[in-house]
Symmetry: C2
Subunit: 234 residues, 2 copies
């Protein structure tokens, strides 16, 4: 059950967090005021400062609440997979599954709708620059380096640098797809259908695995693509 105004069984602190999450997902971290949050939560204007010290403190709590569990579950899943193959390379699909499936786990833990949850994830993971709390930033570094290692082992034909860029491309595809599913509906005029979460994960894994594997056994990545290179008069 979602905690909003009038739901006085749930502690104020919790109601504030959940109201903030919903508002941040919808409007972005910058467009939501403390008053918006306390009103939605049915709390007093001073409640945010009492419970979180400041608006910034609440933002940090919201940022940490899902990102860290997602990154930890990613590592735990990768651990399980690697224990099973005992040092051998893993199939790329399995590694990518460990990378995205935690979202499906965590969305069930949250009070948000699937749609709002992924919008919030998109805003968080798509954040520019360094406004992530240090503990979150470090969690990313640890997690990404483990996945880099696993993917480099799975794709021995690729240079370390290329593996990093493909991780970046892969993560971008995931974040954007989750955050902007409604844009796709708008742009396609509804022709993109109404897939389940599982179908979307499957689509992502297939797309990204093919991209990760591309040419891994042949040419290095910095060879020119065979595209046309038309001279263009702009």
């Amino acid at each position: 059950m979602s905690a909003v105004a009038g739901d006085s069984k749930v502690a104020t602190k919790q109601r504030l967090i959940e109201a903030a999450e919903a508002l941040f997902a919808d409007e972005g971290f910058d467009r939501v005021s403390v008053r918006d949050i306390t009103t939605k939560a049915g709390a007093n204007v001073a409640a945010v400062n009492y419970h979180f010290g400041s608006r910034e403190g609440l933002v940090a709590v919201v940022l940490t609440r899902y990102i860290n569990p997602v990154n930890e579950e990613r590592l735990a899943r990768l651990d399980i997979l690697e224990r099973r193959v005992a040092g051998k390379p893993l199939p790329v699909e399995e590694i990518l599954d460990a990378f995205v499936r935690p979202f499906a786990t965590q969305v069930r833990r949250s009070e948000l709708s699937e749609k709002l949850f992924f919008k919030l994830m998109g805003r968080m993971f798509g954040q520019q620059g360094c406004d992530l709390p240090p503990v979150v930033e470090n969690g990313f570094i640890t997690m990404l380096n483990r996945f880099h290692k696993a993917l480099a082992k799975a794709l021995p034909g690729l240079a370390a640098e290329d593996v990093w860029w493909r991780i970046h491309l892969m993560a971008g595809a995931m974040i954007h797809t989750m955050a902007h599913a409604e844009s796709l509906q708008r742009f396609s005029g509804g022709d993109s259908g109404n897939p389940t979460l599982e179908q979307t994960l499957s689509r992502f894994i297939r797309f990204a695995a093919a991209g990760m594997r591309q040419g891994a056994d042949e040419a290095p990545d910095d060879v020119k693509p065979k595209g046309p290179q038309v001279e263009f008069p702009f």
Copy 2:
């Protein structure tokens, strides 16, 4: 040359636009005040309202200034390619080249550094919801439908719905990669190297083309991936 405070040869209106672009790229559209912009441009506080009617008017100008040329150049490039093959399908790489190369064209037209320009593009294309001016929104719809058609023809094994989702994944990879190149550097500890723009485009095209093509001749996209589906205790 960049137009900032003191550069009185350039018209105020132009200086305001360029100052706004740089600030929006760095901090996001919401965190920049009218005063920030006029100060950076060396203009009077009232200048934004005089020249653009309101802060919102300036934002709309900035949003339209590059997105529309990018989308139009995409269409023009696709036109040239299609004229050459006279109704036959195009190689996926050539279609994707037409999709991303306009960024390389437009970055040269702008006063921003390559890094700032792509950060700005990332903020624009990554915008949630409907705060795009209608002319921009419609430009997207037209452009994306043309690319959908070209890609569907190039990938006859795919359902229309799957083509839409792969376009979405592909565009997400591009936007995120361009906007967050510095995050990759931070997360990889510098191991992602210092590729040129051309190398980055090439990496993107190869990755995305492989993803677009995945299984296009065999199974439909909604088949379960062969990943492990481990039961996970969360």
